[in-house]
Structure formats: structure tokens, C-alpha cells
Point group: C2
Chain length 108, copies 2
């Protein structure tokens, strides 16, 4: 595991400024991160449930991403499965209008 988890205040891939937005763009530019957040918009999911929701993503990558996201305080593992933290849910809400936008995009 050579990949570092991007944190606001630290240098990330392609930026040494430490600006939070850069850390965020780095984190979200990793495969499955956006999708995972998206799939957790509803009720909590188990590891395998999440894996299935993401179309059978390999467990190694899934686990890596879950680690990333847990370290970033965006999700947590509770008794009933993985779920977004309040912070994570806030982030997801920023994306909700994307569904509507994507529909418009589909027409173009």
C-alpha cells in the first residue's frame, strides 16, 4: 500500500499547497470513492452488500477505499453495516443535484 490518504493541510498528488479542496479532489478522484458515497445514500450496507452494489468491485480495492474514507471521517462501520457519518452525508448532499444534471447531460 504505497498510496497515501489525502488530508487537508498536507501535500497531495499534484499540489503542495495543502488547500483542503485539493485533498478533496485527490480523494474523490480515486476509483470507486464517488460510487461508494453514492451507494451509501440510503440505508447502511454490509461489506458484501456494498461490494455487490458497486457491481462486484474486488474486495481489496473496496477495503482500501473504505479505509481511505474512514480515515477521512466520511463513513463508519456500525453494527448494521457501513454508513456515512454526518460529515459524509453533508458531502453527499452536495452531489445530489448531480442526478438531475446527469439526466440533462444524457440528452446532449
Amino acid at each position: 500500500m504505497k498510496q497515501k490518504i489525502p488530508k487537508p493541510g498536507a501535500a497531495v498528488r499534484g499540489s503542495t499547497t495543502g488547500k483542503p479542496i485539493m485533498a478533496l479532489l485527490d480523494l474523490m478522484g480515486r476509483r470507486w470513492v464517488l460510487r461508494i458515497l453514492w451507494e451509501l445514500r440510503g440505508p447502511p450496507l454490509t461489506f458484501r452488500g456494498l461490494q455487490e452494489a458497486c457491481g462486484g468491485v474486488s474486495p481489496s480495492v473496496l477495503n482500501q477505499r473504505l479505509t481511505d474514507l474512514r480515515d477521512s471521517a466520511l463513513l463508519d462501520l456500525a453494527d448494521d453495516g457501513y454508513a456515512l457519518t454526518p460529515l459524509g452525508r453533508e458531502l453527499l448532499e452536495q452531489f445530489t443535484p448531480l442526478t438531475i444534471w446527469a439526466e440533462r447531460w444524457a440528452k446532449a
Copy 2:
């Protein structure tokens, strides 16, 4: 180049539904895509200008991503450089609140 460009209505990585949002999540989950959109929030940038703005990303990947984004009608190359299309600008606007969110995230 074995990578397919995700299009709404077609199957993408991890989803066969053809739902636009899935194509969007696939596209944006690729390295540098979010960053490129972000760096083009201001005036148009040349290929090399964009490359520099992204912290020296390698030209091969940059070009691949530019192809992806042009095929997706999110940006275009004009006389004064690469710039977002109206559609791309719309998408970027969905992300603008992210800066504020990222600041809050940095504190947590």
C-alpha cells in the same frame, strides 16, 4: 487504449443499467478529471498551462482525460486554449460549494 469512455445509456465500470449518474460517477472517478474541471473554472488554459496547473501531470494522461472530457462534451479546445463548454460549466457549478465544505472538513 483499452479504456472506454463512459456514456450515459451504456454500461460502465460496475454498472450495466445505463443510468446517466453511473456514467458520470465512472467518468469523474478517473484521475485528474475533477482537478481538470476545477482548474478550468477560470480563463481558458493551454495544454501546457493546464498541465502545469495540475502540478505537472504527465501529458499522456492529460491528453487521455482531455479526450474523455471532449467526448463527453464537457470541454473544448478553442483558439485561446481549453475551456469548459456551457454544459461543463454547469457541472462545475454543482461543485462550487465544495470549497466551503472542504474548509469545514479540514477542521474535523
